[in-house]
């Protein structure tokens, strides 16, 4: 067991290192902006004194390395700075305290929870469907059912999310008004109502991720079907379903777990477009809005959160596939 622990610690360390480097990349990218935030806020008619005072407020008068480390240590303590759109500069109001009313962390936290809720609902729908369809497609491979699912899943993978979203709105919200097309979630909403409003974006995302997971499940199982032990199971006279579910599936778990984790990573990061279509108050929508008004602290923070979620889930996929494979679990 010691070997596994060491491998996992190694991966964990590598993941954290990647995250650190990614934070540097994001920070440097943001600092490629011409001028700085102070000039950006005040516009062209700014007096040098006003610019200097805001710079001092935001700590922009220090060097880049110092600013990076202060940003990083603040971020680690959960302080992601103050959004420009919400900032209430001391030099403007004349008082010396209170820089800003709402911090970025305050803005992001509820939205992050919403996004996680959306991702969770989607995963709860998509994973069972994808596994069932994948096993069925492997069971009836090369039949009409297999070909039809192949065409359908390929089409839904390759369509843009907003196309699928509008098709679903058209069918389920406008022509047959079953579900609401706007997901205006707010705090303290009853769970049932919240679920109902989340269902349409979740269904859209389900269409996007199910296809990928299902194709990988099918491919992973079919890959194994040529192995001698499957031949043996067949010759014993087992039913095709039993051969696949009991004999092939456990050995196909590693790639399947991997692809599920990758798709969950996609769910947390790729929700941007879907959230915008349904006006779902998640972190993706906040990100796009901040990009449009160039609200750098929010952009920077959401980018970091997305990257962290992405890296962590990839790491999880890595570790799970090691754990599910005895040959990797006991390295020579």
């Amino acid at each position: 067991m010691g070997g596994v622990l060491r491998i996992i610690l190694q991966r964990l360390f590598l993941g954290l290192l990647t995250l650190l480097v990614v934070s540097v990349v994001i920070f440097v990218a943001v600092n490629l902006l011409p001028g700085d935030f102070a000039e950006a806020i005040l516009g062209q008619g700014a007096t040098p004194e006003a610019v200097a005072s805001i710079r001092a407020d935001l700590g922009l008068d220090q060097g880049m390395v110092v600013r990076y480390f202060s940003w990083l240590s603040d971020a680690l303590r959960g302080d992601l700075g103050t959004s420009f759109a919400q900032a209430n500069f001391a030099s403007f109001v004349g008082s010396s305290a209170n820089l800003g009313g709402v911090t970025v962390a305050d803005q992001i936290a509820p939205r992050f929870a919403n996004t996680m809720f959306l991702a969770g609902v989607t995963a709860a729908i998509a994973v069972p469907i994808a596994l069932t369809l994948g096993i069925l497609a492997a069971l009836f491979r090369n039949s009409i059912f297999d070909r039809a699912t192949n065409i359908l899943t390929l089409s839904s993978i390759s369509s843009p999310e907003f196309f699928l979203a509008y098709i679903l709105i058209l069918l389920l919200a406008v022509v047959n008004p079953i579900l609401p097309s706007l997901s205006n979630i707010y705090d303290g909403m009853a769970f049932g109502e919240r679920l109902q409003k989340t269902l349409l974006p979740a269904l859209t995302l389900t269409l996007v991720v199910t296809a990928h997971m299902m194709r990988m499940t099918r491919a992973a199982i079919i890959n194994l079907l040529a192995s001698p032990y499957i031949e043996m199971a067949r010759l014993k006279g087992l039913s095709p379903l039993r051969v696949i579910v009991v004999h092939a599936l456990p050995n196909a778990l590693a790639p399947i777990i991997n692809v599920i984790a990758l798709n969950l990573a996609y769910l947390i990061t790729g929700v941007v477009v879907v959230e915008v279509v349904f006006v779902y108050p998640g972190i993706g929508q906040l990100f796009v809005d901040s990009v449009k008004i160039r609200d750098i602290p929010v952009v920077q923070a959401s980018c970091l959160i997305f990257a962290a979620a992405y890296i962590l889930l990839n790491l999880l996929a890595d570790i799970l596939s090691i754990l599910s494979n005895p040959r990797l679990r006991h390295p020579k």
Partner: protein, 390 residues
């Protein structure tokens, strides 16, 4: 009767039908293996499929099913076109192309036909389009269909948008702008990723390490998120320098996607570099350029070509998504992603005016159709080259 009860009853009825189908089949064919060995689940599948087809035919003639009718018509129309195209390919052309078309599934011939049509439309957009892409004509919000009774106008077969530009012309110019920009971006990404990938594979050492590690870091940030972050910064620079944002977008997406191309071309290159003929070429004293262009590249064409198709889809979808979010291709250039965003409100009229709602779906459908087509062709190519039969 509640909807759940209906569903349960329908499932039970289909199960009964499945049992009857198997029993009747066994009796009628004198216990042929096909019916004798049929599990009840397979029979269930057959009956379910038949029930779905019958329901679909019935629903097709339902007066409220406008969109369903359009979808079925489109599907059948494309299937027939693909079939005719494949037939045409089997009888016209050289021996090689005839052979290619003979083993082709219908999906692939549909894909090739669609890509050809898009290419023709994109190249000759200026000749085909009835109006200019920025031309503002007299009437705004003309309904698609060209039927005066429904608020259409025969002069604008697909209607006009909210400020009176012809949607058909904008769709046609959109082929030129969206597809053209995506194609150029993909080419640039392949040029960057391919060059560095092969260099890393051939030279190895610290160059390989440095390039691979920096690509690892760039790939750790989700593509769309990174693109949005860089576009924020580019938008400031573009107003400052007076360079259109579109150029920045091409560069940013090309760099982000070139990391994926780098991975593949490095892996493919590394497999080729250890071959004996490379050793022989090195001993002959050939230079680096000869090695890369005359020895490695010809042997890496097949996987790179399939990757080009997939990469094009990714780039195309990223650009469409960026435009949809409002930070991609900038107006007044006609572009499908922007058109979907601008026209999206019309979808709310679908219940009583289906023609109005079709406008945003046309642009989104144009994007989906092309990516689906490219994916079908790539799927077929991969299947053919891998030699997978099961």
């Amino acid at each position: 009767m509640s909807i759940w009860l209906q569903i349960v009853l329908a499932l039970v009825a289909i199960g009964l039908g499945a049992w009857v189908l198997r029993f009747a089949g066994q009796k009628a064919t004198g216990n042929k293996p096909f019916f004798r060995d049929m599990p009840i689940s397979v029979a269930f599948g057959y009956v379910l499929g038949a029930a779905a087809v019958i329901w679909g035919i019935g629903f097709y003639f339902h007066p409220g099913a406008t969109f369903f009718r359009w979808a079925v018509q489109g599907f059948v129309g494309f299937a027939i076109a693909a079939y005719v195209f494949r037939l045409f390919g089997r009888h016209v052309g050289t021996q090689g192309t005839k052979k290619l078309f003979r083993g082709m599934p219908l999906t692939a011939s549909f894909g090739i036909l669609t890509i050809l049509i898009y290419a023709v439309v994109a190249i000759f957009a200026g000749l085909i389009a009835p109006y200019g892409q920025e031309e503002i004509l007299g009437q705004a919000n003309v309904v698609p269909g060209g039927d005066v009774a429904f608020g259409g106008n025969p002069q604008f077969p697909l209607g006009t948008d909210q400020i009176g530009r012809d949607i058909l012309s904008r769709l046609i110019y959109g082929a030129q702008n969206t597809v053209g920009i995506a194609f150029a971006t993909t080419c640039l990404a392949f040029f960057l990723g391919g060059t560095f990938g092969f260099l890393a594979a051939t030279l190895g050492g610290w160059l390989d390490q440095a390039l691979s590690r920096s690509v690892d870091v760039l790939m750790a940030i989700p593509a769309l998120i990174f693109a949005l972050l860089l576009m924020t910064i580019a938008s400031v620079w573009s107003t400052k320098l007076g360079i259109p944002l579109t150029y920045f977008m091409v560069l940013i997406i090309a760099v982000i996607d070139s990391t994926r191309v780098f991975r593949l071309s490095r892996a493919v290159g590394q497999n080729i570099v250890v071959m004996d003929y490379i050793e022989a070429a090195k001993l002959r004293g050939e230079g680096l350029a000869y090695l890369i262009f005359r020895e490695i590249l010809p042997n890496a064409t097949a996987p790179l070509l399939a990757e080009f198709g997939l990469r094009f889809c990714f780039v195309f979808l990223t650009i469409a998504s960026l435009s949809f979010l409002g930070v991609g291709i900038q107006p007044p250039l006609a572009d499908w992603g922007t058109m979907v965003r601008d026209l999206s409100q019309f979808i709310n009229f679908a219940a009583f005016a289906p023609r109005v709602a079709s406008a945003p779906l046309l642009a989104a459908g144009a994007i989906a159709l092309l990516t689906v087509a490219v994916n079908f062709v790539v799927d077929w190519m991969l299947h053919k080259s891998s030699g997978l039969k099961e």
